[in-house]
Amino acid sequence: MQELSLNILDIVQNSIKANATVVHLSVKKITSECALKIEIKDNGCGMSEEQVEQVMNPFFTTRTTRKVGLGVPFFKMTAEMTGGSFFLDSVVGKGTTVKACYKTDHIDMLPMGDIAATMMSLISVNPDIDFVFNSKVDNQEFCLDTREIKKELEDVPINSGEVLLFIKDFIDENQSNIEIII
């Protein structure tokens, strides 16, 4: 993966597979401490303790089309190679939370990349799942909640082309304001 926003897109695929109805994504950056934290929290089916242990192993997957499962190991690696850390919490029937902490001044720090494109991809093909995207860079905050958007749209589908393009521009504009790119 060339950028963290692709890892995020990949990790959220697990939430989708777990039948989550709401997925929270939060990105927090404290410039003075060179700290970045990415958290993805879903209300999907969750994992048992054995599965949580296995999910870090690249040779574990629930799928049958191939024998490797690289999503979580890749994401974990992006954090650990900057000297950061990775946490995974899961409760069967409640959901899963994945947290990655980065040291942004490390030479192996990946760029955040196009988070607006990631959100647009997720919303376009998962109109029934609600996504809450929160970003906080130092003191500047931004929040996008698809439940609020759906309320405004009433019976117009959130994955109509024009709505998706608006969402992408909306995130883009706000993100360029707060300089989330490292």
Partner: protein, 123 residues
């Protein structure tokens, strides 16, 4: 600066233009592989290019969906197109640039872009 207040105008515009959506029979389905292999190979710009191209051309009979890994990771990004006559076309090693041509030739005009298909690319 954009704000959510703009959604009201968008809602009204979309509403007035999609009256025909309900009585569509025979829609075309575009399926993009979005597993780790697909994403790492560049599925996100491909998916978004389909969304943008379909929106630009105001195609109401196209449904864009995603799937997981279909087992041919070396050919990712993979896109499958299902047409109403029951045919499935598999496009491999997709890029955002290839999307415009597939939308114009295949989705709008019904001509499969043979040079991008799996049949041409598996030697």
């Amino acid at each position: 600066m954009k704000s959510l207040a703009e959604l009201k105008a968008i809602k009204d515009r979309v509403k007035s233009s999609v009256n025909v959506r309900d009585d569509i029979h025979g829609s075309i389905r575009v399926v993009v592989g979005m597993a780790t292999c697909g994403i790492a190979a560049g599925a996100r710009p491909v998916l978004n290019a389909f969304t943008e191209e379909v929106a630009k051309r105001k195609l109401e009979h196209v449904a864009i969906t995603q799937t997981g890994c279909i087992g041919i990771c070396q050919y990712e990004p993979v896109v499958e197109i299902y047409t109403p006559n029951g045919e499935k076309t598999t496009y491999v090693k997709m890029t955002a640039e290839k999307v415009a041509r597939i939308v114009a030739d295949h989705i709008v005009n019904g001509n499969v872009v043979a040079e991008y298909t799996i049949g041409t690319n598996t030697k």
